[in-house]
Symmetry: D2
Subunit: 341 residues, 4 copies
């Protein structure tokens, strides 16, 4: 099969790799129809993480089931499905909560070396009953792709931000996840949502979704918008030292900073005493993808949560190198790219 | 001052009554600018409750503070304010939670005999710091009137319905409170909201607010819309034996029925065994008016919660008898009436 | 195999019945070692419910697995196990929460006609991975039996009573479930627990568990103990019209009445208007047995929750008729009976 | 009046200072009967914080009201009271939740330079209705002193640790606050509580309170006790880089680390990526002292929460220098010292 592989930072290519085999009786093989590129795919691409050997990339996948093991109950060959980017064993108490992060065997992420890469023609999926969801009625492939990672992550970021009804929320970073967090916060009952990003085009997208765009110094803007008190909740969809520091500085006493975007291998200098004096909660989150589905599907179907305007580009899988190059440029026009097989 | 008084069922008149005096050092006198008629005002009008002596009516009030006691901190003469329909002492642990129902001295309702009637030119308000709210920036009098009772009640009904994100909600009764409950449920993250009322015009209003109107047998319709499982939450804004029975019959196992509309003095025949087998929660609610304000004000200001289309009629206080007669007819056209002094 | 069967009210006998067969590939057969008699077994015995044909009784079971289907993962022949009294399909979203009441195929109870009776030598258990729990280290059979129903129910009653830390709780009915509710409420952080039962010996047991026994009129006693405010939470482990009425009368405004004991087929005359004025929550509960296990097992193992003093009598299965007769007499000495095969 | 003052690190003396005057109409003057030394008093003593000028010390106080302003409602001269160590304005929305940390005017701590020092003969208390609590029936002065800070803090640490019923909790640091956290975690429904401290005598005290003492490497011990999963909740009552690092390393995925002991002015190197991958919540807490009282008072009165064994030493206020010297030595025998006027 054809598969997107990265050899060294910046060097993405499409190559032939062996077809995957069924990963046990609870597994499935999915023929990939579309796979998106995620901001976290750029970590290898930009050299954030070590890359000791070539890695097949991709963890946002929709496709068609072509084979299932004998123990699979909920999907069958021919079903159109989406695949959770994070996988769990599917049968432990942790997975029963819908959160593979709490899987007792440990979570695994597609396209990071351990499991197969989703930007391929075929993908082996272990514990298919847990990892796969039949694409719900009325969903486009792009809608479904958002459930594999970015919208689930933005939604979880908001859920874990303890947003009080009507509360003011600040969102740092308005890429795909940040934009999803803006929309999720509103759907969860936020009042004013302050949208912070250095790129004007991204702020404009957030404004169209109901947020109040913030330009200029973020902490000052948040404090001014809240009578000097700070936001009730802050969502940091960037997670670098600057945004973390600003997030902690602009959350009100007793409030929560919810973070879904860290990638730095170095520790963050956490202002512990300031946070203690202000009774701050800092929530780090790898999204419980599967748990978000029963919440997100009906909201999208009822029209309460907009999924439009996030995918800006579609390219064939064969052009993956160009797609990565374009996405990594972070232009205002390109928010998210889908590769089609 | 001029005041609306009811003598016997159906007999509403406007009469002169003595001006109220300041109810202690924590009290205030409000010059009423507008007072709305509430569905619960009809209980006396329609003979639901005994009426041993004439009662000054009205508990939904906005106006201007004309006098305050020496202990009042948050409002001053000249301030434009709204008045909570339910009053508490303002200084006990119960009132500290924003819920006068839990006031240790017991809650009191304006216009029900104990406190003064709000459909008057002047209203004495005890514990003014607790009962009064300066009308927020950008609010019309009608917006403010909704915070005194109906929207606070619809909002509380939804809050107490334990709506899971994306969950299907059924709302029985689409008068002003029910319509507010529909909008509140959506603002709180509901998925599909099934709107139930025998009057087509009321269902149409709910549909404009994002609900799915239900005509025909309600229980059947709710079960059909939920694969036979029942709604995750049911809000009963009517509260008679029929709607309570239907609400309990169409909530899913483990779900909650939230009731804000009872007026019958007779007990309701509660199907206890069925409810036990299905682990049903039944929540009866007199709204914690004051507690809803910090949630509702920013939501309305941010445009997340629509306050339009509820007040259908405006009349002078002097025409209160006609206003009651028109409102009691429950025509599709007349949803809520405001009396202006 | 030998099995306890009821033919008509009061007529319990031990008889030969066919051995059960494996209920599908996810099922198991358990050789029963001990089965307890539950208060709810008395409903057939005392004619509360219709009994159109003989019913094998019993839903509180511990034993040894003798056979499992090919799909069973968590237990194997030879394992000593306890069996949930309430069964679910084990694979739906409802069962994933640990609550068979929310099973999409509907819950089933052993010993009530649908599934087999547990007071037998063998018991067929569907969806064994969901219904069975290997008996935890250090547990006696009696400890394990409590997890099949009574302690799980008392625990759930307390969990669903919304007990605030330090809050005063009233418990109506001090049979096995009520006594478990007393202990559970304390383990969950209750302050004073008022224990109400007409039988002095039962009140004495509750007092030994840390409760304050109440004799005389219950409502008066609860109000006196709470400065006239009412209990923060009330647990009704009886559930007849009298205790429900008293429970609603002695809960404080805004409080919760949690009910786990209804058996009357007639509706309960619910004082809806009073409950509305006081913002009362009424929670009816069939316990989510399986969900309670991860909470109860470590608490028992850590010595935080006492399981002693509940089983007062042990008899051979062959003497089931005598055991029922003794248990139904509700003497102060006999709180709970276990039958051993 | 006589007052304990610190001039430079290690230099504590008792000196004459002017009697305080009533801090406004909502304030009170308390004649101090006893004032305890808290671990946080050592920050000035040991030079952790800059000390630009002499500071009157002490924030744990019980005494008798000798004067109140005209606006004080809940206490009167002659009342025996305890004083919250953290003060708020008492009338804002933040204070209405019982948490002075969220006071819109900002919280203030006695004995830290802003407000007066409690280790004095007299103490001026602003917003007395909020800061003072009449000493509850049956409380000793030592019980009451624990409500001013240490038990409230340990209790809040546990409350903010999201302890699931039966969950395993690790507590780092077994000084007065840590020991209170151990007892609080148990009262809140914890299962096994692993008690970690380098001092054997402190571990022994925790063991007497129901904890499992841990000696040797803490992370290893916690992982071994939890099948390699980590504790459901970790309470860090020390808050230095070592304990914070270990706390984050031994909490299970999805779990919470609750911190109440930071004093280092330097940032903590927070392993953000590891915390993100494990969905860790880090909660920093300055205790909402006043909010804990309605929970703690009935628990102590009902005998659910032990207050014994914490105060090990009583000395006259005049011997404050010796008391500080002894307390700072952190001997196994000396856990907490009370100074009596």
């Amino acid at each position: 099969m054809r598969s997107v592989v990265i050899d060294t930072p910046g060097a993405v290519r499409v190559t032939d790799r062996p077809d995957p085999v069924l990963p046990g009786p609870d597994g499935a093989i999915v023929a990939v129809r579309a796979a998106a590129i995620c901001g976290s795919d750029l970590h290898f691409y930009e050299g954030d993480y070590p890359l000791p050997e070539p890695v097949p990339l991709g963890h946002e996948v929709v496709g068609t089931v072509v084979e299932v093991g004998t123990g699979v109950r909920t999907v069958a060959p021919g079903d159109s499905v989406l695949v959770s980017s994070v996988a769990g064993c599917g049968s432990c108490a942790g997975c029963a909560t819908g959160d593979p992060v709490t899987c007792v065997t440990g979570p695994q992420v597609f396209g990071s070396g351990a499991l197969g890469g989703g930007q391929s023609e075929l993908l082996a999926v272990p514990a298919a009953d847990f990892q796969l969801l039949a694409i719900p009625d009325g969903f486009t492939d792009e809608d479904a792709l958002l459930l594999t990672d970015n919208l689930a992550t933005g939604w979880a970021a908001a859920r874990r931000a303890d947003i009080p009804p009507g509360g003011t929320v600040a969102v740092f970073g308005l890429g795909a996840v940040g934009l999803c967090a803006v929309r999720s916060a509103i759907a969860q009952g936020a009042g004013t949502v302050l949208a912070i990003d250095p790129v004007a085009g991204r702020r404009d997208r957030a404004a169209l979704s109901g947020a109040t765009p913030v330009s200029g110094p973020a902490v000052t803007a948040v404090l001014e918008a809240t009578d000097g008190r700070g936001a009730a909740a802050v969502i940091d969809a960037v997670g670098n030292d600057t945004t973390l520091t600003e997030s902690l500085a602009c959350v009100r006493p007793g409030g929560t900073v919810s973070v879904v975007g860290v990638h730095d291998l170095q520790p963050f200098p956490f202002p512990a005493l300031m946070a203690l004096v202000r009774s701050t909660t800092l929530r780090m989150t790898t999204a419980p993808i599967q748990r978000t589905w029963p919440e997100l599907v009906p909201l999208i179907q009822a029209g309460r949560l907009d999924t439009g305007g996030i995918f800006t580009d579609t390219m064939p899988l064969a052009d993956a190198a160009d797609a990565y190059s374009m996405f990594a440029a972070r232009s205002p026009e390109c928010l998210k790219v889908v590769l089609r097989t």
